[in-house]
C-alpha cells in the first residue's frame, strides 16, 4: 500500500486493521512524496484512530499498562535478588573479608587480593592450564560432535526412525551430572560392566576411573555422552530449513554428494555455528564445574582435576580465602563477558550476524 501509484488512488487500500498505532506512525513519512489524495486518505485514518479508539487507547491505557507492570514484580524481584544482588557481593574482592564480622565491617584492602593473579601461585597456574586445556579439547572434540551426528541423522533415516533415534539420544541431556558421573563410574569402574566383560574374556582390565592421566579423556567422554544428542536439535532445525531446490540445482550443475554437502549443507549451518561458538566463548573459562567437583574427591588430585571454578570453590568456601577467590571469580566473569562481546564484534567485522543484528 505504500508504493501505490497515483492512478490507484480511486480505490485506496485501507490501513491494515491490525497494525498498531505505533507501527503506522513510524511508516508515515513514506507517504509524503506520493500523490496528494493518497496521502490524505492514509494519513487521516491513523490520526483519528489514535485519538478516540476504544480498542487501543494510548493515553487511557496508561493505567492498564501499569497493571501489566505489577505482574512482573515477583519474578523481577527474584531475578534482582538472586542475580544482581550477588554482583554487589563482589565487593569482598576488595576486602579482607572475615565471615564472622561480615561485609559491612571487613577492612578494605584495595587491589591486594588481585595480586594472587600475578604472583604465579602454583595451584592457580595449574587450574588455569587445566582450564585452557579442557577448553581446547572441548572446542575441538565436543563442539563438532553434534554437527556430525546431525548430518548423519538428517541424510540417512526416514521420519519415524529418525524420531526414535532422536528420542533415545536426547535423554542423557535431562540427567543430572551426578547421575551421569555415577553411570560412568558404574560402567567403567573395576566392578563395572566393561571390566566385568573384559575379565570374562580374559582381556585384562581397563582403568579410567580415578586415573589422573585419563581424567581429561573421561571428562570429555562424559560431556559428549550427555549433550551431543541434545546439541543436534538446533542443527537439525537449521538443516530442515535448507531449500531443497539448492540440492537439485547443485546436482544439475554436476555436483556429487560431497560437493552438495560442502556447498549447500554446511553453508546453511554457518551462522548457527558462529553464534554457538560465540556463546561458548562466554563460558570459555567454565569447563564443567559440577562435573569436575563431583569427581575430584574420588582421588584424581589437584594436578589433573583443578580448574578455575573449582579453585575458586576450594580456595574460597572450603579453605576460607574469601577475598582472593572472589577476586579471581570477578576477573573470570569480566573476561567472559569481554570475550563474548569481542567475539561478537569480530563476527560483525566478517559480515556475520553474531548474537544480535547490528
Amino acid at each position: 500500500m505504500f508504493v501505490t501509484s497515483p492512478e490507484c488512488t480511486g480505490s485506496p487500500v485501507p490501513p491494515l486493521p491490525s497494525a498498531s498505532h505505533h507501527a503506522i506512525r513510524e511508516r508515515e513519512p513514506a507517504h509524503r512524496p506520493e500523490g496528494h489524495a493518497m496521502s490524505l486518505l492514509t494519513r487521516q485514518k491513523p490520526r483519528r484512530r489514535s485519538g478516540a479508539s476504544a480498542v487501543d487507547p494510548p493515553r487511557g491505557g496508561a493505567r492498564r499498562d501499569r497493571a501489566l507492570f505489577w505482574f512482573t514484580v515477583p519474578g523481577l524481584a527474584v531475578v534482582l535478588l538472586f542475580h544482581y544482588v550477588p554482583l554487589l557481593g563482589h565487593v569482598i574482592a576488595f576486602q579482607d573479608y572475615q565471615p564472622f564480622i561480615g561485609i559491612w565491617h571487613s577492612p578494605w584492602v584495595g587491589f591486594a587480593n588481585f595480586s594472587v593473579l600475578f604472583n604465579g601461585e602454583e595451584k592457580l597456574v595449574i587450574a588455569l592450564v587445566n582450564t585452557l586445556q579442557l577448553l581446547l579439547i572441548q572446542v575441538v572434540f565436543v563442539f563438532p560432535a553434534p554437527i556430525l551426528l546431525a548430518l548423519a541423522l538428517n541424510s540417512l533415516l526416514g521420519e519415524r526412525l529418525k524420531r526414535v533415534v532422536q528420542n533415545v539420544l536426547y535423554l542423557p541431556h535431562f540427567l543430572s551430572w551426578v547421575v551421569v558421573v555415577a553411570i560412568f563410574q558404574q560402567m567403567l569402574s573395576d566392578g563395572g560392566l566393561v571390566n566385568v566383560f573384559l575379565r570374562a574374556q580374559e582381556l585384562g582390565t581397563f582403568n579410567i576411573i580415578g586415573n589422573p592421566e585419563l581424567f581429561k579423556a573421561l571428562l570429555t567422554s562424559q560431556v559428549i555422552w550427555k549433550d551431543t544428542g541434545w546439541g543436534t536439535i538446533l542443527f537439525l532445525a537449521a538443516l530442515s530449513r535448507v531449500d531443497t531446490n539448492l540440492y537439485e540445482a547443485a546436482a544439475a550443475d554436476g555436483a556429487g554428494r560431497w560437493r552438495q554437502t560442502w556447498h549447500v549443507t554446511l553453508p546453511a549451518l554457518r551462522g548457527l555455528v558462529i553464534l554457538l561458538l560465540i556463546l561458548r566463548l562466554g563460558d570459555a573459562l567454565s569447563v564443567g564445574f559440577e562435573q569436575i567437583i563431583l569427581q575430584q574427591q574420588s582421588g584424581v588430585g589437584i594436578q589433573a582435576g583443578e580448574v578455575l571454578d573449582t579453585y575458586v570453590y576450594n580456595n574460597g568456601l572450603v579453605a576460607g580465602q574469601w577475598g582472593e577467590s572472589a577476586a579471581i571469580g570477578l576477573v573470570k566473569g569480566i573476561v567472559g563477558v569481554a570475550l563474548v562481546l569481542g567475539a561478537n564484534r569480530v563476527a560483525h567485522l566478517f559480515g556475520e550476524e553474531g548474537i544480535y543484528r547490528r
Binding site: 523481577l76 557481593g89 569482598i92 560402567m187 566392578g191 566385568v196
Partner: protein
Amino acid sequence: MSAAQTYRSTAARSRARAAVPGRTPASPPWRAAKGVLLLICCLLVIVPFLSIVATSLADNEQVTEAGGFVLWPERPSFAAYSAVLAGGVVTRALAVSVGVTVAGTALALLSSITLAYGLSRPGTFGHRPVLMILLFSLLFTPGVIPSYLLIKQLGLINSYWSLILPTMVNAFNVIVLRAFFMGLPRELLDAARIDGANALQILRRIVVPLSRAAIAVVGLFYAVSFWNAFFNAMLYMNESESWPMQLVLRTYVVNNAAIGAGEVSVAGAALPPSYALQAAILVLSIVPIVVVYPFLQRHLRKGVMIGAVKG
C-alpha cells in the same frame, strides 16, 4: 492396487531412501556405515541404563559371580529396592526431592508466567528496562561465593527455600513463555478487555488456558531442573537429614560411602550386594526423569523452536 496407492507407496519408499528430497542419495556402503554409527550411539545410551536396572534387580549370588555389574538379572529380586525404601537416608531424600520439586515448580511457574505476561506487550510501563534486566541475567552467572554469602545473609542456610528461590526464575523459560503469549491473537485479548475483563482476568481466563502446551513444557523443564539440582544443596544443606536425592546419590554412589545397616533398614535378611543397592539408588533418581520424558519429548521441538525463532 490403485494408482493412488502405488503413487503413495513409491513416494514413501523414495522418502525412506533419501531423507532429503532432491538430494543425491548416498552410496550403499556409506549409508551402512552411518547406520552402524547411529546404532552404536543408541546402544551407548541404552546399554548403561539396561545394565543398571538389571544389576539393581540381581541377587547376591549373581553379582558375586560376575564380580560387579550384570546385563540381565537371572533371578530378579526387589530386595535392594525394599531395603533402600524401607525408611532411612534414601527414603527421606526421595521425600525431600519430591517436595522441593513440586513446590519449586509451582512457585517457578507462578512467577515466570506472571513475569512473561507482564512483558508480553511492548510499550507498556517498565517494559524495556524489565526485559533488559531479564536478558542481561543470561549473560553472566552470579558467582559461587557471592551467592553463598547472600543466602547466608538471608538466613536460608539449611532451609529448603535455598533450594527453590535462587533458581525460581529462569530467563530462558520466561522468554519462551513470553514469545508464546505474544503469539496469541490480539483480537481475543482486545475483545475480553472491551467486555470489561481486567489484566488478571485476561491472564486467568484467556492467556493461561490458551497457552497450556507452552506452560506444560516450561513446567517440565523447571521440574527437571529442580529434581536434578545438586550443587546448591551441597552448598547450603549441611545436615544429611535434609539432603535431596542427588546429594545422597553423590555420597553413596559417586563417592562410594559404605551403605550399612544404619543407612537402610533390612528386615532380618542379609544386606543385598552393595552394587545392587547403588544401582537401585541410581534407578530411583533416574525414574522421575524417564517418566516425564515422553511428555517433554512431545512438546520439545515446539518449545525449543519458539525460543529459537522469537527469543
